[in-house]
Symmetry: C2
Subunit: 387 residues, 2 copies
């Protein structure tokens, strides 16, 4: 029993990386089987069921196509996910086609995330194969998320911790009030007003509908509201007038007021706007961030658009260094991708991580919204467990 | 014996962060003592003895003032170091004064690196206390390096691995041939030509001395040479002429050709230069990087100037995102700070990490230069062990 106690003590000390010679020896080049295994990948389509019909300026739907990915290394499983809302131009077909062309088994070290992600960017885009996918960012994000979950589990720590962030800095999440009849909007707003500290509304239709939507919500609550105009306003003067009106209604930020093609008009709106203006459709990946300096006050980082946590982390740091604000968003997705995005949330000014709350068939338990605030757990990796 | 074998297997599996419920539980909120300890710091002056008198355009010396730092948490020790070459404006007095005013014990979680480094930037600069130190960057770097060593040991992995980098991408290091009599230069060059694949020469004196130095080395070897002009050239046309002449001599890059005050002249030289031009004295920290875009082709990151690994990592990623080149340099320092810098080296175009090779009283074994190439080990943290 004494021997066992000593062994446990040593074990714990080694686990904590003590400075004994033993614990200073490399640990990841030896595996539980003794041989160095290669990465294995599994994936399958998983249609997300929406709790309520989802309506934005351009369309409405009741499901979201999604592909679940698992990476296995030495008996450890990392979970990832690709969510494909139609406007991204990706589909179950394009994602599964892309994933089926990924030779992940060539890698025997999941820590080589830079190499693996660089390799993914060399694979022929599904679009060239007439599958309609723009650039497979969701498929790449699924692999990136699974890699981070796997590596975080091997390190025994969640990514916000590995990144040196303080989970107490995680912000409130916005919750989207969908466009609907005044009665339904009032009812939904009442529900949400008790659970969230900031709401989100998608505008960008005609002036009367947009203002009616805000007034309906304001007839129920005075909570701060974030606006996503989804490129809906075509005239810069009209956009600025709307923003001034919205500020009077207690709105706190505006996302993508104008079409992404209207760069100069957007820069003009941003220059004159009394509210911070964030880029969404106008940007996708790391290379786009410097181009947005001067056009928007801030950027919206979405893992499905930027190829995952690694590039998202770099985008957040780049935007900060350029003096820009940062928000993190999501698609309708399970707690897998939402919890991955939540790892970055202590870095951001605004978070829109309600995707997992919008579906009725979540596969994971992970990041929680407690009294409206994003609440990170201490589980290693992206912080999830299968339900 | 069977029990013990099973226990070992479970132990290893847990160590590898397997997906068993047990291994999914948080590990860092429990310590070997059961109570959550606070960070403790020790530090002491340690004068570095130089193997050869060190001469640059502006001065020469035989020692470098240095302060060694240790951070302890739960019985684990992280090592850090502040090296203070005179031109940095920092000293043993300013560093020890700064460190004595750091209340590190207020932190009970070494993973909160962002919070801890932000706190250090709120401490009154030693300069205000008439100690002559510009901004205590070396003192801050010493704490940052010790924190990374500590956290890396807790995670059981070296930082290049945690950052997702491939150690095979680590470049050759340059080795500096000091300014001396032709005979001594030829002798030193012969020694170095066998051990290194790229040399470094500090120019910036008069034209005759500069050209004689290059011709003396070329009489011995045709190895590629990196140049550090240390702000020595005051006239932009002269600087450009020298760069053209140097290109004919097989020089591959130029560091800080002109005084940092001459921004426009430097931008002109960079625009016309046939060789990549890197910023050294012209920049220090993350906020300076965007300002160097258009003025230089690349930046030289030095931990003692940028406050350590955390900010250095962000600077490298920022420069890359801005399409700039990156090099990593060092001061004369022990294998502690050099090995910390080496963790970043797989990211850079040029590395000048010979600081530990220039001293005769190193305290650590760490990053090695094998056949001229930076060779990273698998030791956790910054990859060092006390000698």
């Amino acid at each position: 029993m004494t021997n066992r106690r000593i062994f446990i003590k040593t074990g714990v000390f080694a686990l904590l990386g003590g400075t004994t010679l033993a614990s200073c020896q490399p640990k990841f080049n030896v595996t539980s089987t003794g041989v160095k295994p290669h990465l294995k990948m599994r994936f399958f389509p998983y249609e997300l069921q929406l709790q309520h019909t989802f309506t934005v300026a351009t369309y409405s739907r009741t499901t979201t196509p999604d592909v679940q990915v698992e990476l296995e290394y030495d008996g450890i499983i990392g979970y990832g996910e690709a969510s494909m809302p139609p406007y991204l131009g990706q589909s179950v077909e394009s994602v599964t086609d892309f994933l089926s062309r990924v030779d992940i088994e060539q890698f025997d070290d999941p820590f080589r995330i830079e190499d693996i992600m660089a390799y993914l960017d060399t694979i022929e885009p599904s679009s060239k194969l007439q599958l309609g996918a723009k650039d497979d960012t969701a498929a790449k994000a699924a692999i990136d998320i699974a890699l981070h979950d796997l590596v975080g589990k091997m390190l025994g720590a969640p990514w916000y911790k590995i990144w040196g962030l303080n989970p107490a800095d995680a912000p409130d999440t916005t919750f989207t009030i969908g466009i609907d009849t005044p009665d339904v909007v009032r009812e939904k707003t009442r529900e949400c007003a008790d659970r969230f500290n900031i709401l989100k509304v998608k505008l960008g239709r005609d002036e009367q509908s947009d203002k009616e939507m805000i007034e309906t919500i304001r007839s129920v609550t005075q909570l701060p509201i974030a606006i996503d105009a989804n490129q809906g306003w075509k005239d810069r003067s009209y956009a600025l007038d709307m923003i001034h009106w919205l500020k009077e209604q207690g709105i706190v930020m505006i996302e993508q007021p104008m079409p992404k093609e209207q760069v100069d008009d957007t820069a003009w709106v941003t220059e004159h706007s009394p509210l911070p203006v964030f880029a969404d459709e106008s940007m996708q990946r790391l290379v786009d961030v410097p181009k947005m300096k001067g056009v928007f006050h801030g950027i919206n980082i979405k893992l499905m658009k930027c190829t995952g946590m690694r590039e998202g982390w770099k985008m957040a740091n780049l935007a900060r260094a350029l003096g820009m604000r940062v928000m993190i968003g999501c698609m309708t997705e399970t707690s897998c991708a939402c919890s991955a995005a939540a790892q970055l949330s202590p870095l951001v000014d605004f978070a829109d991580l309600d995707g997992n709350l919008l579906i009725s068939n979540d596969r994971f338990e992970g990041m929680k919204v407690v009294k409206g605030k994003i609440t990170l757990n201490e589980l290693p990796g992206i912080g999830i467990q299968p339900i």
